[in-house]
Symmetry: C2
Subunit: 451 residues, 2 copies
């Protein structure tokens, strides 16, 4: 019988599931250190909750669920798998007026998009989002970015920067250049490509979009703007002279930068990037991406979006969030050797050597567990070689064996499954031996991390 997994989805076998959990646990710790609380929503929503929210292209990617019973025959769908975690957040904010304001929630959960599967792009993937709904204070951005900094640094990333910009600044600049508001979105898309196509590429594309040479001249400073954050802000202030909207955005950006400094984020980690545009529609204030030297995609991003979360609640709900890219983080942490090396959580293998020693083996396993060891009992009596090979293949470091001789002498043989070194000792000494051996393992893996 041939069987397979749906296109664009993945199984995480134990060796892959463990590092995922390691990173997710670090995210949860980080979120909770900043007062975010867990939220869980169903995998699917009513279809009308999702339709009309993701644009024409996005909507095509929604997985729709057939009606059951009668409706099923007509091919009608009444439910759809969630496409992101933001629309469910908006639904929750609308449905539960008893939630605290601001409402700070995190959600780490799969979302589903019927994209063409590619290397590193899946149809089921996790989003790891922290959002604050109900506050316009710049402290929200400061906290989110400080949290993100702490999480990336805590995972061991050393070469990342928080790239920061502001939608009001961008739209102020576009307005100050006299560009038609209808061309704003296109202009942002083109500016965002500066990294890839260079200043000349951007210039050509802007002219193609219908921007006039005098308008381009006013924006041109952006394309080559370099310097410290203070110098960049200074230049932007000049470019925005007289444009209250853009200057207010710049002020907001300054407040955030000052706050980050007081919150302890090293200055060198924070870069004002005046062409960062972050996708399209919904951002209304600060926007940010976390990038790694030499890696083209961001490993996290977010921004303020004050007009989205209120969509179901009938009142405006300002909001701001940060989304961590779990798959990319795992990839890069792996490449950098920053993931735990263990392929199993099991510490001790206890094989049932033969039926005759089964009872004593079970007693030994119970005792080890009572002392907090994570123990796998290999259930099938048989060749010790096969049993030990199973333990080695799983990456279990130690075995504790009771054979007929050991049983007769109230002894246990302990074995290091990597080195095959083994030692037979009195039953009463096993706990201490294993405790010491595992403590040495931990020390060794810590000093490796320190390399």
């Amino acid at each position: 019988v041939k069987v397979s997994i749906p296109k664009g989805t993945q199984d995480f076998l134990p060796a892959a599931a463990l590092p995922r959990r390691y990173v997710i646990d670090r995210l949860i710790e980080g979120f909770e250190a900043y007062g975010f609380e867990p939220l869980e929503t169903p995998a699917f929503e009513k279809i009308e909750t999702l339709l009309g929210k993701y644009g024409e292209e996005g909507e095509k990617l929604i997985f729709k669920i057939l009606k059951r019973g009668e409706g099923a025959q007509a091919g009608e769908a009444d439910l759809a798998l969630r496409y992101d975690l933001t629309v469910p957040l908006a639904r929750v904010v609308a449905m539960y007026p008893e939630l605290p304001r601001p409402f700070k929630r995190y959600q780490i959960a799969p979302v589903w998009r019927a994209e063409k599967p590619q290397r590193g792009r899946y149809r089921e993937f996790y989003q790891c989002d922290a959002d604050v709904a109900g506050s316009t204070s710049p402290v929200v951005e400061i906290e989110l970015l400080t949290m993100a900094h702490g999480i990336y640094a805590g995972l061991g990333f050393t070469d990342f920067t928080l790239q920061l910009n502001h939608r009001r600044v961008l739209s102020g600049l576009i307005h100050a250049a006299g560009i038609d508001p209808g061309l704003e979105v296109g202009t942002l898309i083109t500016l965002d490509k500066l990294d890839k196509v260079g200043p000349d590429g951007v210039r050509a594309e802007l002219l193609e979009r219908g921007i006039t040479p005098p308008q381009l001249a006013k924006l041109d400073g952006l394309l080559t703007l370099q310097g410290t954050n203070a110098e960049v802000l200074e230049a932007l202030t000049t470019m925005l002279a007289g444009h209250a909207w853009g200057l207010a955005g710049l002020d907001n950006l300054r407040t955030i930068l000052t706050g980050l400094e007081h919150a302890g984020v090293p200055e060198a980690r924070v870069v004002v990037n005046p062409v960062l545009a972050r996708g399209l529609g919904y951002y209304t204030g600060a926007i940010y991406e976390v990038v790694l030297a030499g890696f083209s995609s961001s490993i996290g991003s977010g921004g303020r979006y004050d007009n989205l979360v209120g969509m179901f609640s009938g009142r405006p709900v300002p909001a701001c969030g940060f989304s961590f890219g779990l798959d990319r983080m795992l990839l890069l942490l792996g490449e950098r050797g920053l993931l735990p090396k263990q392929t199993t959580r099991t510490q001790v293998l206890v094989p049932v050597y033969s039926d005759a020693v089964r009872d004593e083996t079970l007693r030994l396993a119970a005792e080890l567990r009572a002392f907090g060891f994570r123990v796998d009992v290999y259930p099938d009596p048989g060749k010790l070689g096969v049993q030990m090979q199973y333990g080695t293949a799983r990456g279990i470091p130690f075995a504790a064996i009771v054979g007929p001789d050991e049983l007769a002498n109230r002894q246990v043989t302990v074995r290091d499954l990597r080195t095959r070194a083994q030692e037979t000792m009195d039953r009463s000494g096993v706990i201490a031996w294993l405790q010491e051996a595992l403590a040495r393992e931990q020390l060794a893996s810590r000093s490796e991390e320190g390399d």
Copy 2:
């Protein structure tokens, strides 16, 4: 705008998500103490993987996903949400021959069934399964039951029993009574109702099913069989005299009981229940349920099913598992006061009293977090009363406040948000004060648990 959640699904707001995570974390600890490893599979499978696996009634409950693009117009489905975690396990065993044998995996994940929603029955619910694929050894059953015992006891349940029976014993008894094999399933269904309808009810239903009075007479001993496990086993041995199949099952059951004793499970917790039948089809050996005094449904169950996991792999794969009922466990733990009382993980609220103290507030929050406190910064300057009320509503125990006076004097006001007692102290004393206060909290909650 009116918005709602799909029928039969639930949102878990923070106060509900936290106890769920508490129980799930205890399950993970328990699974890993017994050598089980995490497995994650996609939420949906190819539709052909799921069809034909759950019987006619089950199949109607499968949520089917519409094809995208062209196919969508025809109303065709090519994917379906997983209905349980066992079929995905069978698929994984078939797809990855490199997996260790036996393969011990746990999976804690939602499954979806389009059942008529009722109190306590949802269309999206979690299954928490530990299974061993690839061993026929009774040590597997012993380990699973010992693990289950440890998990329930560790959560604080004191009034549970492991009810144990064996499909071979049951089918041996039915065969020994001369009942047509075609009536076996029906007979099991009826026997399983003994608790609800009593011996007379079972007798009447068996006769209705076409069992003859002499056949019934041979089974009748089962309906009133009581006594210690040894007495019950003794009686079953007599009833099965000469039936090798049933006697082998009984031997297997005896081995499991002896093993549980050596593994440290108290004898009083284990009850041989000769009419326990556990649903239908697929069990082939030991079957078990965990029941609580005075609660009609089981809070966990499982058994051996040697013919299921091999369905995709083209070779027989014996298997045995235990499934924890998360929702029922949560309900009962809540009723018994065995869930953590905290409604938030946040320990300290730090309000931004005014824009003028923002920077110092951010520094204070950073310092508290550096010392490991989980801190929520209330971002909006304003009335202290509103800020404190927010903290109280969320259940945050303490606040640390920097107002203009505190800023001037390098002080901080710490406040117990329940008692409203507060104290202004030198900035340098805050860490120690909060550490002590939180340590007292923990002690208090522990001694409450001890009540």
